[in-house]
Amino acid sequence: MKLVCLSWSHRDRVCAAREALASVPVERVLLELKTRGFAEAVAVSTCNRFELYVAGQADQDLAAAGLVAILEELAETSLGPQAEIREDAAAVDHLLAVAAGLDSLVVGETEILGQVKTGYEKAMAAGMTGKRLNVLFQRALFVGKKVRTETALASGSLSVPSVAVQLAETIFGRLEGKCALILGAGAMSELAAKHLAARGVSKLVVANRTWDRAYQLAARYQGEAVKWETFPAELERADVVISSTGAPAAVLTRAIVSEAVRRRGGRSLFLIDIAMPRDIEESVHAIDGVYLYRLEDLEAIVAKNMASRAEAVAAARRIVDAKAAEFAAWARSLSSGPELSLKHADRTDGRVLDAEYPG
């Protein structure tokens, strides 16, 4: 089989071509290719990537220049010379790497897998997938899932706020219905509030010595501002507390926390101290059901995740290479016969990918 892949990605320093292509609906691209006699094509279009995969018979002429010309016509602009062009094995390898998140700006991000799936589904709907691209894209989706479940590529956050959120999830599970108390209304507090709100924390309570700033921060995240003096009482309903006040001495003492724990009916309490000097007395960590993490603890976890990320990339790469080789053997068997059976032994989302391949 013959396979050509054109791609414009975040690696291009000039993003004009990507912008122009993003404005062209994928369906139009597919329709245009269909009317010009191409049998199989899939386009993946995201905010920082545009990829076109075209497949045909082994002897078919799939000139990249011709495909670029078609895209230029649709985008009504010159796309310049930046397209990365890959053929056959290189194109297969690239698609698998893209689906695995290895080619993303944030390596290991999971969104791209869904975007590849969408691109494939649109092509299926347009009748532009046949045996070759069906097998190839199902394999790519399978590899993407496999890499994410079997390597640490997608786990292990790389920033202090996201590590904090991840820890909160190991304590509470889902954060919906949980309440976060923010002490202090500085930039760090805001960053933490933003992450917690994004992960579904239902209630944000902000306490700050200056009422106005507490009020403003709370308003930005649909939270509730409370008077500074009342924060010990707020500890009773909070699940996560993030403290970053500029106070010279600890504001959350062991006495305050023990008193709150008594009234909490045994719910776990996750305290995060990102202030310097510290806001929370170290001894509260010894209380049953109370977990205190300080800025340096979170930073140490980030550093560890950074280190293991490199290992995970290598592991993901091995999976991609192995699966690309399997696909190459299958593609060769199409022309030399007998056709190899390319069973995906694993399942994705509980659904066997071993579907009937039409075409």
Partner: protein, 282 residues
């Protein structure tokens, strides 16, 4: 003979499922998790068949007819490993907590392993004092409760590991794979809260049986005393967890002490108990 082959195969399957479960816990390899489920499922079927054969042979003695063959270690351990694996299947797997297999399945394998390797599978007519319909009630209820408590113990182990991980401030990859502290705590407490009344019911049934057969509900033998201590520990757990609202390690340790009592009650009975020594097969 066929019965032993089936039991040995079921044991091998549970052992293999435990290995797969450990592999799943350490690598999060989805294939290992599916293997684990397949092994457990097949093991359950084989054990069920083996039980049928065991039952037919047991009932070949006319005086044993309609009584369940749980009057010796072989029968009791086989039943409990079956109930434990079954409980894992219905509780954890349905709640997508199959990752806990690494903590629960080794105990099912161990139980069945003890039965096939150490216990005497020979069948004999029941002693006259056991020929009572109560035999189908009192020990069955208790063994079901033991199996479920064993499951809770597995969950409690995972809970302690997770708690230590988070307290340590240097959580490993394992921490992100295990269910959250809250989920584990809820599962452990719920299993215990549901099983404790079953345990008490089984003990009361035993007292009724004893009263009917000997005129005394309480004979004060070691096994009876240990059972009350077991109830005491689990009741203390329930009180700590639901009434006084304690979390963290203390209640978990208390529930584990309850489980230690169960082990002592079950395996020690033949040594220091008079009216409950039948499990030794005497």
């Amino acid at each position: 003979m066929i019965k032993m082959v089936l039991s040995w195969s079921a044991f091998a399957l549970y052992a293999a499922a435990s290995v797969a479960a450990l592999h799943y816990l350490l690598t999060k390899n989805e294939r290992a998790s599916r293997l684990m489920l397949t092994f457990v499922g097949c093991g359950l079927v084989l054990q069920f068949l083996s039980f049928g054969i065991h039952l037919a042979a047991f009932w070949a003695f006319p005086e044993n007819r309609w009584f369940l063959p749980i009057n010796n270690f072989f029968g009791a351990l086989s039943y409990m490993s079956f109930a434990l694996a079954g409980a894992f299947f219905t509780i954890e797997v349905r709640r997508h907590l199959g990752i806990l297999g690494a903590f629960v399945l080794p105990m099912a394998a161990l139980g069945l392993g003890l039965a096939v390797i150490l216990a005497n599978p020979e069948l004999a007519p029941l002693e006259p004092k056991l020929r009572s319909y109560w035999l189908n009630i009192h020990p069955m209820i208790l063994m079901t409760a033991y199996a479920t408590f064993t499951n809770a113990f597995g969950v409690a182990l995972a809970l302690l590991i997770q708690e230590r991980q988070i307290k340590s401030r240097t959580p490993s990859e394992l921490c992100y794979r295990l269910p959250s502290l809250d989920e584990l705590d809820a599962l452990n407490s719920r299993i215990i809260a549901i099983t404790l009344p079953i345990l008490v019911l089984g003990l009361v049934m035993g007292a009724v049986w004893a009263y009917q057969s000997s005129g005394r509900a309480w004979s004060g033998d070691a096994k009876e005393i240990m059972s009350l201590v077991t109830v005491g520990f689990y009741a203390a757990f329930i009180w700590l967890r639901y009434v006084s609202g304690r979390r963290g390690r203390t209640p978990v340790y208390v529930s584990m002490a309850g489980f230690a009592c169960i082990l002592l009650t079950f395996f020690g009975a033949g040594v220091f108990s008079d009216s409950h020594d039948y499990l030794g097969g005497k």
